[in-house]
Symmetry: C2
Subunit: 487 residues, 2 copies
């Protein structure tokens, strides 16, 4: 099998396929009559190059070659995979398959990105129906792993197996449907929600933004990690899935949505759901599932927090409302003592396989400590936006004791030197009175334009000198100036 | 206003409310006739204590006092907020409100957790309808910020304002509905999806697990950060929301779901959606939204990866398939040279406000380097599970040059000492030939049971001695043994 893919139709979806194949080492041959196709695909590819390689913790294979072709017959030359992403018009798709099959290899796989058509509809005018399957992706194709693989009895087993191997090889999760159905699985849900959302807007219940908030601040966070049934299994509590279905089943016949045709909740259907849920999630107790869910949610929410987006933006606003640390130098109670710059609990996602806070998270906390110190010294967001900042040149961490998730940690910061380009800080991290770690850091003031060392202006130099003078009377910390392995 | 909340009904939802109020500094008074209530709430509280405080980057207020009460009249004493989470039976809820209003303060707010009832239904037999509102939360209540706040004209403006202040104060996002409606907003979507899911199972199209996978490997990841309309705005591409609605509108009348009542897509409705979407997201171009979305997705996916769950588990499996680094000592090409232990791209979420890789991520990469070195030296997952591991005691990082998201970085590791309890490593990080940083690390072998230093057994001691002997001939790295600020 060649690692050559032909991309027929290069819009948002086709471009996403092109990017995924290319970044996973395949050569990609594009056909798209749109004169703008090359520009559009370049833009998708730029996004994919920025995001996909770093998602892996290993280096991806060397990128394949990308080429554009004026005809379908040229594009499919040598291709073992052909991905069709032309507009959703059945007659158009059938015509495209006719042309493709006149020119492509007999053992190539033709995957259709169709959102709604069944594979039998694509196969039933084709000269070789067996090589046509539905491989329905989700935007952005280069990041989301789900591919709905839909096949029919016309597809030989080896074609289905080969399709799975290729999709897995480019980092996708082929979800093979048990049988074909209009709109496959996911789009049935999207369609149901979309229709309900249109009603909510039309009826003046909520705006597009309110609807998005209702999703991304609530069940959207649950669905990103567990989906529908595993979430409800937990909601059923200790009694599990059967209890949930029995309890919430009746609501189905209440007038909650615009659309009311409801499957009868027979004992048989309840059994089927409960049994499937056991097979899916029964290896974990409800308590375990709760802890897994919560750790996932904390990871997702903290990820969004770092981007200041969605529910993470809400959390940052909440942090500001809670406050607690000095926001300006004048709020520091005793400037002649090390300054409290971090006061927080250890998040669930900061621990590692050794059962304690991971070493990198110590530096994250010390980095936050440095950021807070810089803010107090006038190097705040405004100053940084004006073109000056400090870069860390050197760090020395001594791990003195362990700490676990949930523990409240504090970092106090002592300024060893704060003049000219240099800022020399010594952080101590405590849980209560227990010293956990020290961090010694040398920072250099830089111009963010030249990326070279520079002298801070008075907005920073003056408050920094004030702190340095106040800390001059403190004794030099034990451990400062030490090298690794030297006592 | 007192910071005292009464929790009426202490199941999964009531317990979640109790935990959120308590951890945000409120005193909480619980009434629940279930003899198991105290145990159940303790379990919810244990989950909340493990997850909520670390979600904040500041210390939460001191925890309030929790008490259990035998009667509703006792529970509501002194409470300024009363949260009702009793079973979804209207007559029961009405009776509860009657009792609550006989005993609670006239200016207290009575919030109902009802998923489906409208506030007017709760208010219309009440002695003081003005103090009853719907505040519908999402499980787990202590982590998910969304609260659907539903009010009627019977609620004075100051009650609505006060409800928002309290909810915001305990870290929630009050989504105030424009008018009441059965099942509010989110549950209308959940109901539509739930019904469709039941059909899919009943019709044998997919199992509960396949349905969950269809959600959490695809659109669930999108919804966690942008919801429905902002996602579709991007899908519309450069032409935006209006194009999307016009293009996908017709699908609504196709037979994709079981339920077909469809709002007519009049010009007026299309305008309404496009205008609302502009108001919501118009500040960002489609290209900007794409980059925001991709960075969010990378953050979420990498968070799930660290938990080896959902789409993150798929990504870890993909990393193993791609491989690339030596998995055993025998696969190391030249044992007499520093060993390649990290080879990867810098993820989008590893950069900070200075536009380069954040200092903590250097240590994360060096920590991964150490993990890989340990694995090669026999300290792998099996060894760690058997009770031995290495803890980092000291770290010295020198930042030599900057690196940005997307860059491919490599770390090679030199063993300076590997005998007895000690492991002394020197990592060098490169982008191409450009030296970015060095990391010098002293690790101590420990028993994971006693958490004290111990001698590794031969599964580690033997391969480690082999590496140390092979590296004995390497020259001592420039910068090894240096202290911060000393050249």
């Amino acid at each position: 099998m060649t690692k050559t893919a032909a991309i027929i139709g290069g819009g948002v979806i086709g471009g996403g396929w092109a990017a995924r194949f290319l970044l996973m080492g395949w050569d990609v041959r594009v056909f798209d009559p749109d004169p703008e196709a090359e520009r559009k695909i370049s833009e998708v590819l730029a996004n994919a190059r920025a995001s996909l390689p770093g998602l892996a913790d290993v280096a991806l294979p060397a990128e394949g070659r990308l080429s554009y072709h004026d005809t379908m017959s040229d594009a499919v030359a040598g291709a073992s995979w052909i991905q069709e992403s032309v507009p959703e018009r059945l007659e158009l798709k059938r015509k495209v398959y006719q042309t493709l099959q006149e020119h492509c290899a007999e053992d190539a796989i033709l995957g259709s990105s169709t959102s709604g058509f069944k594979p039998s509809e694509l196969q039933n005018c084709a000269s070789r129906p067996g090589q046509i399957v539905v491989t329905h992706p989700f935007n952005p194709v280069y990041l989301l792993p789900l591919i709905e693989l839909v096949t029919t009895e016309a597809n030989p087993a080896h074609v289905v197996d080969q399709a799975k191997v290729v999709l897995l090889g480019i980092g996708c999760h082929p979800l093979h449907l048990r049988r074909e159905i209009d709109a496959h699985i996911a789009d049935r849900f999207l369609e149901a929600v979309w229709r309900e959302a249109l009603w909510l807007i039309k009826d003046g219940i909520a705006s597009t933004e309110e609807i998005d908030d209702a999703i991304r601040y609530g069940f959207g966070l649950r669905w990103a990690q567990m989906g529908l049934f595993e979430t409800y299994r937990i909601a059923g509590g200790e009694a599990g899935m059967r209890h949930f279905v029995e309890q919430f089943g009746p609501c189905l016949s209440w007038p909650w949505t615009k659309l009311m045709d409801v499957p009868e909740l027979t004992d048989e259907l309840i059994d089927m759901i409960a049994d499937q849920s056991d097979a899916q999630s029964g290896a974990h107790s409800i308590r375990q599932l709760e802890r897994i869910r919560d750790t996932n949610l904390v990871s997702i929410l903290r990820g969004l927090k770092a981007q200041d987006w969605g529910a993470g933006k809400l959390l940052n606003a909440q942090d500001r409302r809670i406050g607690g640390l000095p926001a300006t130098l004048d709020e520091v109670a005793d400037l002649a003592a090390p300054i409290l710059v971090v006061d927080r609990a250890v998040p669930l996602d900061w621990t590692d396989y050794n059962g304690h806070m991971n070493e990198a998270r110590y530096l994250q906390a010390f980095g936050d400590a440095t950021d807070r110190f810089m803010m107090l010294a006038g190097c705040d967001a405004d100053y940084i936006a004006s073109g000056g900042s400090y870069f860390t040149a050197e760090t020395h961490i001594r791990h003195i004791d362990e700490v676990r998730a949930g523990a409240r940690i504090r970092v106090v910061s002592q300024c060893l030197l704060g003049e000219g380009k240099k800022l020399h800080l010594f952080h101590r991290m405590y849980e209560g009175d227990r010293l956990l770690a020290t961090g010694e850091h040398m920072l250099i003031h830089v111009s963010l334009e030249t990326r070279k060392a520079s002298i801070p202006d008075d907005r920073v130099a003056v408050p920094l000198a004030r702190i340095a003078a106040a800390h001059a009377g403190l004794s030099r910390p034990e451990g400062a100036g030490a090298a690794v392995g030297v006592r």
